[in-house]
Amino acid sequence: MSISAGVRPKSPTERMLAGNAWLVYAFFYAPILVLIVFSFNENNNVGIWTEPSLRWYRDVLANDAVMSAIRVSLIVAAISTVVSTILGTMTALSLERFRYRGRRAFDGLVYLPIIIPDVTMAVMLLLFFAQSFQWLDAALGWRPSFGIATISLSHIAFNISFVAVVVRARLGQLDARLEEAAADLYATRWQAFRRVTFPLIAPGVVGGALLALTLSLDDVVVTSFVAGPGSTTLPVYVFGLVRRGVTPLINAVSTLMLVASMVLIAISLGFQRTSRSRVAIREQELEPN
């Protein structure tokens, strides 16, 4: 809700606010636009524009290392998104709708990964895996290696919390009476969840899943610590390239990554728009007519 926009005059403050807003948007988009534009540059040297060309995109597709990194990224992202969404949703339900001993401790545990910087997380998981592999070797004679499994397990570890927070927020907005109404109408706990609770928190679950997907695809530090030879993800690979210099190849890869992000956003917004109205219904229900 906001003040009816039509009634206010354009005061100097208004103008300043608007000006500030447009500057911020310019700040947001300028670098991205520059990147995209220069990815179509024929010239090797990023700064100097010569002529438009798709050369770098062709290079990307032909580049085995990049393709392999993309593959690994997608596998890891898929696994970690699915698992963390399921576990995160269950966490949100458990924390929000029930009371039991140790709930506070669980609550705290869930929030910790959010306030830990990824460097610390990377260190923790590296030492954990290294140490556990030693123990497993000593106990079972089996020595696992760092690879897609360790990366996925690590991503799940921090994603659960983010999904839980998003779903929990959505769950909190839900009228608890709806679940009572379902029970009043003979639904078992499971039926009430499947037919009432879940459809209404679905946008939150999707939002959480998208967040998990983004965080997984974005991650550099944790992944680089727990990856093994032959299992680089795309961001880690690009990071390696970037440290060495700037080339239009990276620009092309980056543009592709940006496009992928935008597609994701478009999907998520499309989904949200159809479901947003439904929670608004609850608010309207409580207004006297």
Partner: protein, 293 residues
């Protein structure tokens, strides 16, 4: 009427216990997962921080000592912490200063415009973080577009890359959405009729803001600040891409202990150190915010 078979308190309690157990079981898988893959690793880091480093760089889980922690108060290390802390703080403040009017603007538009403006903020947010930081490397290079622009205008080529300023720009750029979104959420949820009430009671615009809007938007300010400060303190990627080798920050320092320097105990101690700083900052910040609501 039959004699009442009383529902004794224990029976009511039993049903409540069954309910509790159900909640506990639903949360159990995630709890177990986080314990194994988060709590346990944390404990391991703690343990390692007391271990010794052999001459070849391997970690020996014997000879427990506080050497690594003693190094934390070395002037050099302290300086690294300090530098990172102030960089994170500056980043947070700049983000706040830039985001607040921005979020305020969006929150005070009509519904349709608001949604469009929000989407336009989300797009960079959902885009890959690495790519966005890299974009600044392109922009700030000495033969990048900004430099070319300044040269075209008759000035010097810009030498911003590999400086602290570049890192600051990169951090602000990367974390700005994390400040905008919570601020927007808090402002949007606010009851604006309170501001109108204040003006009805003779407050001018600035006073109304100071006494009504600002305190009510506080939870958003706190959430946003935490969401920016925490990753900024441990930032690794942004300084690695945009910063120089001259100024070491905590993130890079820690990573170095596990790669080149091969001093895991010290790296662990550093990690614990940074975590404690963040926990303290979060708790203090939360408490101060909660008190005044």
């Amino acid at each position: 009427m039959a004699l009442p078979e009383t529902a004794a308190p224990e029976l009511e309690l039993d049903s409540r216990r069954a309910e509790s157990r159900r909640g506990f079981l639903i949360g159990l898988p995630a709890w177990a997962y986080l314990t194994i893959f988060f709590a346990l690793p944390l404990v391991i880091v703690l343990v390692y921080s007391f271990a010794t480093r052999s001459s070849t760089g391997r970690t020996q889980l014997t000879g427990w000592n506080l050497d690594s922690y003693r190094r934390l108060v070395d002037p050099f290390v302290f300086e690294v912490f300090q530098r990172s802390f102030f960089l994170a703080l500056t980043t947070t403040l700049i983000c706040l200063l830039v985001s607040y009017p921005f979020a305020y603007y969006i929150a005070t538009r009509g519904a349709r415009l608001r949604n469009i403006l929000l989407v336009m903020v989300m797009i960079p947010f959902w885009s890959n973080f690495l790519v966005r930081t890299y974009a600044w490397k392109v922009l700030l290079g000495s033969d990048g577009p900004i430099s070319q622009l300044s040269q075209a205008l008759g000035g010097e080529p810009i030498r911003l890359l590999f400086t602290n300023t570049a890192v600051l720009i990169g951090l602000v750029y990367g974390f700005l959405p994390f400040m905008v979104l919570p601020l927007y959420a808090a402002l949007e949820r606010m009851d604006w009729s309170l501001v109108e009430a204040a003006r009805d009671l003779y407050a001018d615009g600035w006073t109304a803001f100071r006494k009504v809007t600002w305190p009510l938007s506080r939870p958003g300010v706190i959430a946003g600040s935490i969401l920016v400060f925490v990753p900024a303190l441990g930032a690794y990627v942004t300084p690695a891409i945009l910063g120089g080798a001259r100024t070491t920050l905590v993130g890079d320092y820690i990573v170095d202990q596990f790669l080149a320097a091969r001093n895991q105990p010290f790296g662990s101690a550093l990690s614990m150190g940074i975590m404690l700083v963040l926990l303290a900052a979060t708790v203090i910040y939360f408490r101060s915010g909660a008190k005044e609501v």
